[in-house]
């Protein structure tokens, strides 16, 4: 892997040598310190999992372009801390792009922060465009996750901690060809999963993808597409294999008067080589839509899915309706209703027949110089007659965006989530009702001073009783010659009113000196 980096660096240096650096660039160098003060159970508040105290150094929004069009971008955030998030790219339009990323994320599992996992991701992606008609791409990505986590064993008093240590590496290479009518894409991808603690979990996957899209010559109003996907997952220690062969096709026809019809078909066969269980999936989807350019549109569709395995066979029929309307670029209305019915034809399944209904409606009003107001309702209802159960989920949400030149911006979103589960036969039920408000105020800068306020409040009631909030404040003072002093303050609070030891308070203060680069 190190050798690849060397080659990439050599390639970049050689390219850079061919260019004359008479050029332009900009970016922000940030140096500062993060102070933390935490009290309570570190594992309950997810927003503060990945915050660290210490000296921070960052290069943000860096952009440098040479006069031969070679473009370097970098976002190197918190290079000196364990929550570093690094991204670098070099590109030249019409020739190549190379990007490198590295980041890591920590998650706590116990009150004192002794048990935590860290996920580290490193990836390189490159594409080269040797000619107008061809793009070659490839890269690799590796994820390492290690540390201590826990198994859920309530109400056993002793939480059982376990360890995790694995590497997940992927590698891909492919090409995409273009012609005036469409394109063809071929890709090979390989995954390697190595569990450093339990070799029995080691596995590999080989994936091959080919897809094509084209309009029909002389009948440009017809577009066709199709593809084939092969995937084989193989366990190294055991003989377990899972193989999927999937083929799909699609056609879209643009009729006069902005009427379109599209049809898609998919067939997939997934075979479990050990249990010899073979699952076939057939999916057909047909939709018809009509658009009125300045006003909106309507869409109706039908979907059919057939699933067949060794033990059972189900057929799902679904209907889709959606519509949208806009009035003078001010009022936008959108609605969608999806209904699916899964019918067990032969054999038995745990859940049996299933009805699934999902609907969504949203309305947005925009007033150009002021902002916009959005209201939205989203609901899904799942019913299983055989086990006599019903799960309902509804969210109501509204957002207000206000922005006024000379004053600043104010955004607030409030959502109410309501969830219910009933098993009527066994009289088991569960309910939750969550309220969440989140918002920011960012007035325009006044005499070299910029401030931003933000906050989030969360309350979960019914079968649990949790309250948490976060307040944030950012203040920036601009000095001459492109220097800023930035102070950020974040406070998190978490209370579980049913479990006594689940509380948390965290204060985070960050002081940074920022230098705006102009090269």
């Amino acid at each position: 892997m190190k050798k690849n980096f060397v080659y990439i660096v050599i390639a970049l240096i050689l390219v850079m040598l061919t260019s004359t650096f008479a050029n332009e660039g900009s970016g922000d160098v940030k140096i500062g310190y993060i102070f933390t003060d935490e009290d309570g159970n570190l594992s309950v508040n997810q927003e503060s999992y990945n915050l660290y105290k210490g000296f921070g150094f960052s290069l943000n929004n860096f952009n440098y372009i040479t006069d031969n069009g070679l473009n370097f971008n970098a976002n190197l955030n918190n290079i000196t801390l364990n929550n570093r998030n690094l991204y670098f790219s070099a590109s030249k339009s019409g020739l190549f792009k190379l990007s490198v990323k590295n980041n890591q994320y920590r998650r706590f599992y116990d009150a004192n922060g002794v048990y935590f996992t860290r996920r580290q991701t490193t990836g390189v992606q490159a594409n080269i465009i040797p000619s107008k008609n061809l793009k070659i791409f490839g890269g690799f990505n590796t994820v390492n996750k290690h540390g201590g986590n826990y198994d859920i064993l309530r109400p056993l008093a002793d939480t059982v901690y376990s360890s995790t240590d694995y590497n997940h590496t992927s590698f891909n290479i492919g090409g995409q060809g273009f012609c005036p009518y469409g394109n063809l894409r071929i890709e090979y991808r390989k995954f390697n999963f190595n569990d450093n603690l339990k070799a029995v979990n080691d596995r590999t996957a080989d994936i091959f993808n080919i897809s094509a899209f084209s309009t029909v010559p002389r009948y440009r109003w017809i577009t066709l597409a199709g593809g084939y996907h092969y995937r084989q997952d193989k366990m190294d220690a055991t003989a377990v294999e899972l193989t999927t062969n999937e083929a799909w096709g699609a056609a879209k026809i643009y009729f006069p008067h902005r009427i379109t019809a599209d049809y898609r078909i998919l067939f997939a066969r997934t075979k479990h080589e050990t249990s010899l269980n073979e699952t076939d999936n057939w999916v057909n989807t047909f939709t018809l839509s009509k658009t009125w350019t300045r006003y909106g549109g309507l869409r109706v569709g039908y979907e059919n899915r057939y699933v067949d395995d060794l033990y059972a066979h189900t057929v799902t029929n679904g209907a889709l309706f959606s519509g949208w309307y806009k009035y003078q670029n001010r009022l936008y209305l959108k609605g969608k209703l999806t209904y699916r019915n899964k019918d067990l034809k032969t054999g038995t399944t745990l859940t049996g027949d299933e009805d699934y209904t999902k609907y969504l409606f949203s309305a947005t009003y925009k007033e150009a110089p002021w902002g916009d107001l959005t209201a939205r309702v989203d609901s899904r209802i799942k019913k299983n007659d055989d086990i006599n159960s019903e799960a309902d989920y509804t969210s109501l949400s509204s957002t207000l965006n206000l922005h006024r030149k000379g004053y600043g911006r104010f955004t607030v979103t409030y959502s109410y989530y309501l969830g219910k589960y009933y098993n009527y036969s066994d009289k088991v039920s569960y309910e939750f009702a969550d309220h969440v408000v989140t918002g920011t105020i960012s007035p325009v800068s006044y005499k070299k001073v910029t401030v931003i306020f933000g906050g989030t409040y969360y309350r979960s009631r019914r079968d649990q009783d949790i309250e948490k909030y976060n307040l944030s404040f950012t203040g920036i003072y601009s000095f001459p010659y492109g220097h800023d002093l930035e102070v950020k303050y974040n406070v998190f609070n978490y209370d579980d009113y049913l479990l006594n030891n689940n509380y948390y308070t965290g204060n985070f203060v960050e002081v940074n000196l920022i230098k705006h680069l102009s090269l």
Binding site: N4, S93, L95, Y421
Partner: protein, 311 residues
Amino acid sequence: MKLSKKLIGNIFGVFLVLIIFFFTNSVYGNEGQVDDETCLQCHDGMEKTLSFTAHRLSSQIKNPTAHISCSSCHQGGATHIEDPSVENITNPAKLSGYDAVKTCTQCHQAHIGLDNYGFDAHTNQQLNCDNCHQVHSRNKSLLLDDKAEFCIRCHTEKATDFARRSNHPVKQNDITCLSCHQFTKRQNDNLAYDLDRICQDCHPQEGGPFLYEHEATNAYSVESGGCVECHEPHGSENNFLLKQKDNQVCLQCHFPSGHYTAHGGIWSKYSCLSCHTDVHGSFNNKMFLDPDLPAKFNGNCYNSGCHILNK
């Protein structure tokens, strides 16, 4: 022949260096009908809004490898010179639907077709490139607003989804919407058939295959659903993004009456996961029981011979 990792690395490196050098003169793009200097006589300074982007005008670059000029995107320059009215030159930002997309996909060909535009959910509402991107800007990926998590501009309720108790770390800037919603991977907006594979990219340990599969975790199975059968991917009020709390997740499909009555209902107070630890799939047991269960419960159930673990 089995290629070693070292050999693959070397091939990749040499390939990269060679390609960059041998094709540095490849030039494509759309040559303009009117030269940029003519445009900039009136639209002075507009070239600066492109200079830090991939759309930097070719006339401003030594040895360009792509032809990019004002008239690559703005058609009708010749007429516009005669009569400089906004009516007689195209502005892709003011076109709607496919008409706008056609301009961008002259060069961004990979985004036309099933990859993105054509069968994507956004298309159905006549949304186009310009609804998210602004060409004359210096924002990251030329997004209209790179200050916020971008998709939340329209999908406003997601701002609060990610603020719930258990959440994917989008607000923490550790992942983005595009980490999961990859336009280039799906060909069908109505189906979640391949959803599990997206989850497995980051959570490979749960992905299988297992000797004993839990059908609810497989989107291809007759039980269908996959990961989202039990998990709420954006944010949830429960640990591990679970849709229901504790045993309720399992009780959506299972009602193990024996557990509530045998031995005076002693097991009814335990979490299902106390014993059925391998809920995503198991190599040991078709009931997904912990292989260390005899040790965990001091062997009472199994060593006594009353219960047999592997059945």
